[in-house]
Symmetry: C2
Subunit: 218 residues, 2 copies
DNA sequence: AAATATTTTTAGATTAACCTAAAAATATCG
DNA sequence: CGATATTTTTAGGTTAATCTAAAAATATTT
């Protein structure tokens, strides 16, 4: 039975592995968990003993297949709870993360699978991130950053990169919601800001925002 | 912010206070939490510092008003989650306790209150125990043990005293469910076992079982 | 490639939540 | 009521998860 801290480290390693072929660095994990490097080193040794990761001194951490499955199960729970909070309990997508961080640690296979069934086997969480199925399989959809589109191209808003509360509220205010259709109308030369067509209206967003918005080309 | 252990101690003190006018004893708490007396002594000092209980050496623990409200909030969450598990996720009443023990520690006022709303503001959990409302108010119903009824008296099954999984499964097997109408037909002299009329059928149960079944007289 | 900078690990402390063994206080019983 | 039993506390130890400071290894830069 894993502790909350062990689970959080695994999850962190999983997320940091995505854009990283080699081992995940001690410092990166420490930063993502808001702890210090020595604490992470201790934990890496423990996770290695439990065969959840492979770890050699100074070489960073890599998930084993067992560790990967374990991490995916935690992420599955996190995202299912997020769906529950938004669809059944009137939470906004900007306020689910903190609560899901707690709920993801509840241990009960039956709970997870019944929740999945109750929600109708959702494949995406409220931020557009894919939900691993019971076997740990993730259905990725090809998506690009809004900032990668050229003038005249159109995309459908399918997810956010940084799902911080502040950014999600920013999107709410501008009525940019998952599923919105976005067309690049113009790119400002001097600050790279984008003029976009959003469903029926037009607006302007910064390059920083465009770097946080995932779309599928249409 | 209270730790899980602090919350569990509070809950234990609350439950043990029910049939106890004086302070709750260290040993009783230790037994209910499956820890040892010295661990409880440590925790009582801490809870006293936090003004959740009053505690004098050798005198046992008494909840303050603040401690009582805090304990009731944990119990409220526990019982709401039990309702959720049974009504929405197909759990049996004999398997909800363990999971609710975890879920009761999730910290989010909004979650608790939205869950309450989602469930239609239930007043009883699946074992017939009352659910405190948001203000910590509990609506007690007058109930007696089945073993307190005399021959010829009738009662409606409204709750269990010991809600151990084994006892709940025993009730399931005999189709004794919350809401069942029970009539005392005969009491066996030599072992105090009861012959009862249950809805349309008759059966015999031990005095030990009758001591675990709450009914309202009808 | 040597010097410097950065990262990571080791060493040793701290805190929370538990424990055992023994001492102290309270309760019970003849 | 005094002896004995029980309960509770104290004293001191353990483990998990954190920390700081310093040492060691790796990476970068000139």
């Amino acid at each position: 039975m894993l502790s909350f801290s062990e689970e959080n480290h695994l999850k962190s390693i999983f997320h940091l592995s995505i854009d990283q072929k080699n081992g995940v660095s001690t410092n990166a994990i420490a930063e993502s968990l808001k702890t210090k490097a020595p604490s992470v080193t201790d934990m890496l040794k423990k996770l290695c003993d439990k065969e959840l990761i492979t770890y050699k001194k100074y070489q960073g951490a890599l998930l084993t297949e067992y560790g990967r499955k374990t991490a995916l199960n935690i992420i599955r729970k996190h995202r299912l709870w997020e769906v529950f909070l938004v669809e059944k309990l009137n939470f906004n997508w900007s306020e689910v993360h903190e609560v899901a961080e707690q709920l993801e640690h509840i241990k009960s296979q039956k709970l997870t699978n019944e929740l999945d069934k109750f929600l109708g086997y959702p494949t995406k969480d409220p931020h557009g991130d894919p939900i691993p199925n019971i076997a740990g399989f993730i259905k990725y959809t090809t998506k690009v950053l809004l900032s990668d589109l050229s003038i005249g191209e159109k995309g459908k808003f399918v997810g956010v990169k940084d799902s911080s509360s502040a950014f999600l509220k920013f999107l709410d205010k501008r009525k940019i919601a998952l599923g919105s259709n976005i067309e690049i109308l113009h790119i400002e030369d001097f600050d790279d800001s984008l003029h976009i067509g959003l469903d029926e209206t037009n607006l302007s967003i910064s390059i920083k925002s465009a770097n946080n918005i995932y779309v599928t080309k249409i």
